[in-house]
C-alpha cells in the first residue's frame, strides 16, 4: 500500500499527558552526554530561574515519538516502519522542558510529497504544558520508501 495522500492535513487527538520526572531528565541527559549541572542539579536549575532540572533540547523527541506512534498506527497510512527513514528534524522552543512539566503532543501532517514509489511526509507535533501553553513544536521529515 503506498502512502495515503489523504494524510495531508490530518490532525490527531492530543496524546495523554506525560509527566516529566527528574530522574528521567537525568537519565536522558546522561544518554546524550549532557553533563551541564542544569540537567542534573535542581539547585543549579533554580539558579537559572527554573523550578527543577532542565531537560536537554532534544528531550522533546520523547513526546513527539508518542505522536508519531499515532501516525504509524493509522490503518490507512501506508507508512511501514521498516521502510521509513528519519531525514530531518527540528525543534522550535518557547521554553525548555523542565522536570514537573505535564506535556501533551498534538500531531498534524503538514506536508506530503510523492517521491518515486515512496513519499516524504512532514509532520508537526505541538507540545503544550498543563496550562495549554506552548512549550515546543517538533517537526520531523520522514522518507518512506516504496514497496519492492
Amino acid at each position: 500500500m503506498p502512502v495515503n495522500p489523504e494524510l495531508l492535513g490530518r490532525a490527531f487527538p492530543p496524546t495523554a499527558p506525560y509527566l516529566v520526572g527528574r530522574e528521567k531528565v537525568r537519565e536522558f541527559a546522561r544518554a546524550v552526554f549532557a553533563e551541564d549541572a542544569q540537567h542534573h542539579d535542581p539547585e543549579a536549575a533554580r539558579a537559572l530561574g527554573y523550578g527543577d532540572v532542565v531537560a536537554p533540547p532534544t528531550f522533546a523527541m520523547v513526546i513527539q515519538d508518542m505522536t508519531l506512534q499515532q501516525l504509524l498506527a493509522e490503518p490507512d497510512s501506508g507508512i511501514a516502519l521498516e521502510r521509513t527513514i528519519h531525514a530531518q528534524q527540528s525543534f522550535r522552543y518557547t521554553r525548555p522542558i523542565v522536570a514537573g512539566d505535564e506535556l501533551t503532543g498534538q500531531l498534524t501532517v503538514t506536508g506530503l510529497r510523492a517521491m518515486g514509489q515512496g513519499a516524504m511526509v512532514t509532520s508537526e507535533a505541538e507540545i503544550t504544558d498543563a496550562d495549554g501553553a506552548h512549550v515546543v513544536t517538533a517537526t520531523s521529515v520522514l522518507l518512506i520508501g516504496g514497496e519492492e
Binding site: K24, V32, A34, P57, T58, V62, I85, Q88, Q89, P96
Partner: protein, 137 residues
C-alpha cells in the same frame, strides 16, 4: 556583559569529541524509548542492508547541541534547532565510534545568533544544516 554579546561570525564557541560505544546506544534506546533493533543488533542491521549497527540519529543530534549548552549557560537560550540526517554513524562493537562536534557562529543579529554545528565521524560530515538559533541578549 556576558561573552554571548561579544561573539563574531566565525568564532568557534565550543567543540568536543564524544566516544560512542554499543553501550551508549543501548543507554540512549532506554532513555529515549527508541528500541529499533538496527541500533543494537548486528544481525538485523545486516539483514536490512546496513553497513553495521548505527547510532540513533537523534542521539547524534542530541549530543551535538549539548556541546554548546555549557557555553550558553542556559538551555533556555535555544530558540530553534534543526538538522538533516545525511550519513549514518556506524558503531563498531570493539572500537565504537568517535563523533566530533565543532560549534561556530554563523550569523549574528540583534539579540540572537545562529550557531552552525559541524558534526563528523571518521572525517565525514554526518549531519547537514545543523543550526541552532540562540538568544544572546
Amino acid at each position: 556583559m556576558s561573552a554571548l554579546d561579544a561573539i563574531q561570525v566565525g568564532d568557534v564557541v565550543a567543540e568536543r569529541t564524544v566516544h560512542l560505544t554499543r553501550e551508549s546506544l543501548v543507554r540512549y534506546a532506554g532513555a529515549s524509548g527508541d528500541f529499533n533493533p538496527i541500533h543494537y543488533r548486528d544481525d538485523v542491521a545486516e539483514r536490512v542492508g546496513l553497513p553495521g549497527v548505527l547510532a540513533h540519529g537523534m542521539l547524534t543530534m542530541g549530543l551535538a547541541v549539548e556541546t554548546i549548552v555549557p557555553w550558553l549557560g542556559d538551555a533556555g537560550r535555544i530558540v530553534e534547532y534543526g538538522v538533516r540526517f545525511t550519513r549514518p554513524v556506524v558503531v563498531d562493537p570493539e572500537d565504537g565510534a568517535d563523533v566530533a562536534v565543532t560549534a561556530k557562529v554563523g550569523e549574528v543579529a540583534e539579540g540572537t545568533a545562529r550557531i552552525d554545528l559541524t558534526v563528523t565521524h571518521a572525517g565525514t560530515s554526518v549531519l547537514g544544516k545543523a543550526q541552532v538559533r540562540v538568544r544572546t541578549a
